[in-house]
Assembly symmetry: C2
Homo-oligomer: 224 residues x 2
C-alpha cells in the first residue's frame, strides 16, 4: 500500500505541474502536442515530414525530443530547419511534467511559436499516465507492430485524442489489417480521431498536417 | 531522495525474489529465457515459430505471457500445442520477479519441462531493470524500428545476453542497416550474441532454435 501511495503522490504532483505548464503554454498562444508510441513506430519521421510540410505556414514550430540517451533525434529535427530541444531521461521510461516545465525557458526563447511538438520516450505504457501539459495526445502505431496493440495497451489508446496508423506502405508485407486496428482502437476509445500515414510515400501526411495547422491557427481557444 | 530510496528498495526486493526463483528453476532443471522488446517487434511470432520447430526435441517447453491486458498471446501459443500461462499486469509496464514467482506452481505442474520462455510486456525501458530469475535475457529488435535503437535504449541492450534482429524480410522496404544495428548493439554490449530472423520466410529460425535447444539440453549447468 505504501508504494501505491507514493505512486499516487508522484502522479498528483505531476498533474499539478502539468496544469501550470498548460496554462503557461496557453498564455503564450502555443498549442502543444504529446506524441507517444513504442520505439520505432515512426514518431520522429512523422515530425520531420510535418515540419517540412508545414514550414512557416502554421507559424513558428519547435520540437522537444525525449529519449533515454543520445541527441540523435534533436539533430534530425534541426536538419529540417526547426529548433529542437533534447531531454534525455536516463533510466526513466517517460517524460514527465517537471521535465517539460524545466524546458519552459527554452520554449519562451522561441519567437512567434504557435505549435510545440513533444516527442515522448518510446513506450506504450507509462507515458499514458503522465500529463505533460499538452492540449492533445497523439498515439502512433506502425503496421509492423500488429493490429492487436490497442487491446493490449488500452491505457494509452484511452488517454489519446488522436491515433496515427503509420508505415501503411508496409501493409502488404504484414498481416496488419487497418480496419481491424481502427475497430480495436475505437472499441477502447470511441472518440479517437484516426489518420493513416506513410512517411515513405507521403500518403496521409497532408491531411494530418492540415489538421494540426488548423489547431495551431485556432490556438488554444480549442480547449480553454 | 525519498522516491529514489523506494525505487531502490523495490529493485532490491525484486532481485531477492528473482534469485529464489532462479534457484527453483535450476533445481527443476528448467532453462528460463526472458524475451524483451518494444510492442510489435515479433516476440510472440518468434516463440510460435520456435515451439513449432523445437517440438519435443528440446524436451518440454512452456511459455509465460506478459501483457497489460488480454489473453490473446496465451491463446496463440496454445494453438501451437504448448502450455501457456498469461500474466496480465494491468497498469504495470513490465513483469517482475514476484509475478513469475507466483506462477511457479503452474510451472511445476508442467511435466518434464526443460525450457521456459517468458515473454515480457512490450517495453524497451523498464524490463531491463527487473530480473525475473531467468538464465538468459533476449532482446528483439525489428528492422521496422530503426537501427539506432541500441544507442537510444542502452540499458536494455546492456542487460541482454542475446539480440535477435527480426523481420529481416522487410529490410528492403526500410532504411534499416543490419550491419549498423549490430555495430550499435555491440558498442553498448560487446558480449551480445546476435541472430537475424524472419518469421515470414523462416530465415534464421533454425540457427536460433538450435542455440536454445542446446542450452535447454545442457540445462542449467551453463551458468550454475
Amino acid at each position: 500500500m505504501h508504494e501505491i501511495n507514493i505512486e499516487k503522490k508522484i502522479l498528483m504532483k505531476n498533474d499539478e505541474i502539468a496544469s501550470g505548464t498548460r496554462l503557461a503554454f496557453r498564455k503564450m498562444g502555443i498549442f502543444a502536442i504529446n506524441m507517444v508510441s513504442s520505439p520505432g513506430s515512426g514518431k520522429t519521421s512523422i515530425i520531420e515530414e510535418s515540419v517540412k510540410k508545414l514550414g512557416v505556414k502554421a507559424g513558428g514550430i519547435a520540437v522537444i525530443e525525449g529519449d533515454q540517451e543520445t541527441e540523435l533525434d534533436k539533430k534530425r529535427i534541426e536538419r529540417c530547419g526547426v529548433p529542437a530541444h533534447q531531454i534525455t531521461t536516463g533510466r526513466a521510461c517517460h517524460l514527465d511534467a517537471e521535465m517539460i516545465c524545466s524546458a519552459l525557458e527554452w520554449v519562451m526563447d522561441q519567437k512567434n511559436l504557435k505549435l510545440l511538438i513533444i516527442e515522448n520516450v518510446g513506450n506504450m505504457v507509462c507515458p499514458a499516465e503522465y500529463d505533460l501539459g499538452e492540449e492533445m495526445m497523439v498515439v502512433i502505431l506502425s503496421v509492423a507492430e500488429g493490429d492487436d496493440k490497442p487491446l493490449k495497451y488500452p491505457a494509452l489508446f484511452n488517454a489519446a485524442d488522436v491515433l496515427i496508423i503509420n508505415k501503411i506502405d508496409l501493409t502488404p508485407q504484414t498481416n496488419f489489417d487497418i480496419e481491424r486496428a481502427k475497430k480495436n482502437a475505437l472499441k477502447i476509445n470511441p472518440g479517437l480521431k484516426i489518420f493513416t500515414t506513410s512517411c515513405t510515400t507521403g500518403e496521409g501526411i497532408t491531411e494530418w498536417c492540415a489538421f494540426i495547422a488548423g489547431l495551431a491557427a485556432k490556438g488554444t481557444e480549442v480547449k480553454e
